[in-house]
């Protein structure tokens, strides 16, 4: 929830100062409140991914991008193809624009990474409505497969070296992939069989009418929610499509899940508390998003990096306050292992 708020805030701006602020806020919270589980260590990976996106974006711009601006940095030999120029002169404005675009994506990824590092996917499963429980479990298992996959890739590559191969190059990919896939499949089958023998998926038969009702409610709800989200995020869309649609869609979803969940006989051992810290965490994310959106409505020019003419970006006070609010979980969230932040 918190991370989504932060991510929404990021997507509305190309102001590099704000973006960097958002990333550092995410990093701060992660550093303060992460646990010691494997995925908690993955945050660095997300940061690296983000950085490489920035670099890639700039490189692409240099290679095929539409070059504009006045401040020429240097000129690369250019190849003119019909409709597209490869390489060619490089202008500061263009490079900056590309870098900021990349930075925006990178900060989104940092937000997702933060969410992933903070919230244990298995605990997330407990917060899911019971009708979605089985789908949820499948998703969670596929998420947890990733670290295992990395581990078995490493192991198999070591084994390849034992057979006297360097372990790099395209040819070795297949040789690594085959044992790794077999390994992963074996593991998944083991887990599935363990879960089966422990009573996973026990449920009484449902009448077809209830099943259809559940399906219809959930599907329309999701559709509504999707359209609504688009409306909220796209500033040009008519206001009526935005919030009301989103709320209606979500309500429908909840109704569908309620109906479907009635049939599942599961109980929760020690349900996760949802108390003041949790509200605070989720609220701070929402507040950040709202403040940034409001600030953007009020003063759109402050939110884009002024390119023509080139100028240092302004620092809108309201948005800064909003983003700083998002840092609240670093202090308000309960200590790990009782982590409070949710995606």
């Amino acid at each position: 929830m918190w991370a989504i708020g932060l991510a929404v805030a990021c997507s509305r701006t190309t102001n590099p100062l704000l973006l960097l602020l958002a990333v550092s806020v995410a990093a701060l919270v992660v550093a303060a409140r992460r646990g010691s589980s494997p995925w908690a260590r993955a945050f660095r990976l997300y940061l690296v991914l983000g950085a490489s996106i920035v670099v890639l974006r700039v490189l692409l711009h240099l290679l095929v991008g539409f070059k504009f601006g006045q401040t020429r940095l240097y000129t690369l030999p250019s190849i003119d193809l019909p409709g597209i120029t490869i390489l060619g002169p490089v202008y500061l404005e263009g490079v900056l624009a590309a870098a900021v675009e990349g930075l925006r994506l990178a900060s989104l990824i940092a937000c997702i990474g933060a969410a992933n590092a903070l919230a244990n996917p298995k605990r997330l499963l407990r917060a899911m409505p019971s009708a979605l429980h089985e789908i949820g479990t499948a998703v969670v298992i596929s998420v947890t497969v990733a670290p295992q996959l990395a581990e078995s890739v490493q192991r198999v590559r070591r084994a390849r070296v034992l057979r006297g191969e360097g372990g790099s190059g395209l040819r070795s990919v297949g040789r690594v992939a085959l044992p790794v896939l077999q390994d992963t499949l074996d593991r998944s089958l083991l887990l599935a069989s363990a879960m089966d023998s422990r009573g996973y998926g026990r449920r009484p038969e449902q009448s077809p009418r209830v099943r259809h009702l559940t399906g219809a409610l959930t599907l329309t709800g999701l559709l509504g929610a999707a359209v609504g989200t688009y409306g909220v995020l796209d500033a040009t869309a008519p206001a009526a499509v935005g919030l009301p649609m989103l709320v209606a869609g979500l309500l429908l979803c909840v109704a569908g899940l309620r109906v479907g969940g009635r049939a599942v006989q599961r109980t929760a051992y020690r349900p996760d508390p949802w108390a003041t810290p949790e509200w605070l965490v989720a609220g701070s994310g929402v507040a950040a998003a709202v403040l940034v959106v409001v600030a953007a409505r009020a003063d759109p020019t402050a939110f884009v990096l002024p390119l023509e003419p080139l100028a240092p970006p302004a620092l809108p006070l309201l948005a800064v306050v909003g983003l700083l609010l998002a840092a609240v979980p670093a202090f308000a969230a309960p200590e790990p292992p009782r982590r409070g932040s949710r995606t």
Partner: protein
Amino acid sequence: MSAPVVVLDRVSVRYAGSPRPTLRDASVVVEEGELAVVVGRTGAGKSTLLGAVNGTVPHFTGGHLSGRVTVAGLDTRTHRPRDLAGVVGVVSQDPLAGFVTDTVEEELAYTLEQLGVEPSAMRRRVEEVLDVLGIADLRDAPLHDLSGGQQQRVAIGSVLTANPRVLVLDEPTSALDPTGAEEVLATLSRLVHDLGLTVLVSEHRLERIVGLADRLVLVAEDGTVSHGAPSDLMAQSPLAPPVVHLGRWAGWQPLPLTVRDARRAARDLRAALGPSTEQVVAAHHAAPQDTSPASVPAPLLAGTAVEVHHGDLVAVDGVDLSLAPGEVVALMGRNGSGKSSLLWALHGSGHRHGGDVTVAAGPAATTGAAASAPGAGGASTVDPARVSPGVRRRHVGLVPQSAADLLYLPSVDDECHQADTEAGAAPGTAREHLDRLAPGIDGAAHPRDLSEGQRLALVVAIQLTAAPATLLLDEPTRGLDYPAKAALSSLLRDLAAAGGAVLVATHDVEFAAGVADRVVVLARGRVVADGPAVDVLCDSPAFAPQVAKVLAPTRLLTVDDVRRALPGVPVTVGGAR
């Protein structure tokens, strides 16, 4: 409760595409409160038998099951594994692969959540199980951070919470060190004796469990099954722990199954052996060191002050270890004591943060590929971490814990051919090695269809194709039955006899006793014992093999040792009783 809990009535199981049924007309009855041990060679169908008990076979695995399986009166034909979750608890070989949650407490509650038990009842049940298994202080611990023995106990606990009538365990101790295995087996015997639980368990290392068993279920290789009292079945079983072999050899009646029984029966044998025979055997076990003290050959592998770190953890802390030609060294120690890290560091492909390692070249490197080894000649040594993998494997080979990682081609012949090419050896070399290790493997077979022992043999053959002077093996006995272990052990002895050196990391005390000249014990990354196998193994209570325990103070490790020490005496010893 008079009716048997588990009844298999004329059960046959045939998997699709398999030429013969895995189980054939198996009829097994297990009474309430019994500990039944399922025994059989690898691939004989032990897992299939256990899987049939809770319906995993055939509901989950597929295949065709005929006959009838009933558990506590419920037929597995009409009840799926998930419906039997409250009746049968299943624990697998690798506990970590079966864990669904992250912490001990949540894992214990998981089955109950699935069964829809009230939260208050759930909490009580979880507390009870925590106490029964003695894991109450681990309740908040992440599952990944537990030791193997603790993980396996949590896995047992996680099915116990549902209050099942039957517990089914498929080789629960095969991945554990001796101490962890003891923990798990002690837990099992407590559950049987105190709670009256019915337990079915399969196990390769019978020496640990056969004394606890009320019933043995013997799965023969053709899929037929016989069951009965342990002492009756053990008299003929091809798979038997050393103490039973000793009893058979000495002709003891009734056949002892535990060290305690055997020790009582062995009074005369101990007297016959006396302390004088010690020398004979000690000389055998320490042959390479004792016979050639004058001309000590240059070690084939020498590591000094080797250090390995994993983050903050010091896995290997300044270990000095050298391997002489003709020597088989067993590396023992707890799980996590640094055995694997040391092997990989010595091999040169793992991390090494300090110390030096030099390895001598194997025959192939000194003759065929001499150009790649600097200063070509018999005495040339290199640091394995500084040479390319291709050169390294001519000096030192490593068989990793999950040996199957090395295999990726669709058939045994392809693997052998590839091994020849990689090593630059004459075509057919790998196949020759393989035939020596495990004769009669079909060349067209897929490596994954081989038995555990055959697959290991294939990997060893591939590594031998490069003709390394030193061979390192990490836990090779995992999942091997007695005949396969014996084959491996004679293979390693052959390698040593041909002038190579072998370092084998193992938990298996009996295997180490049979194969090693020297035993090195690691604890927290340091060498705590290094000496002739007889001394190290006999002096340690945890690592002493059964025969040593029975015959102490005489220092003999294996039944073969006893035979060698007392040629032709068995009849008189047996007759004395």
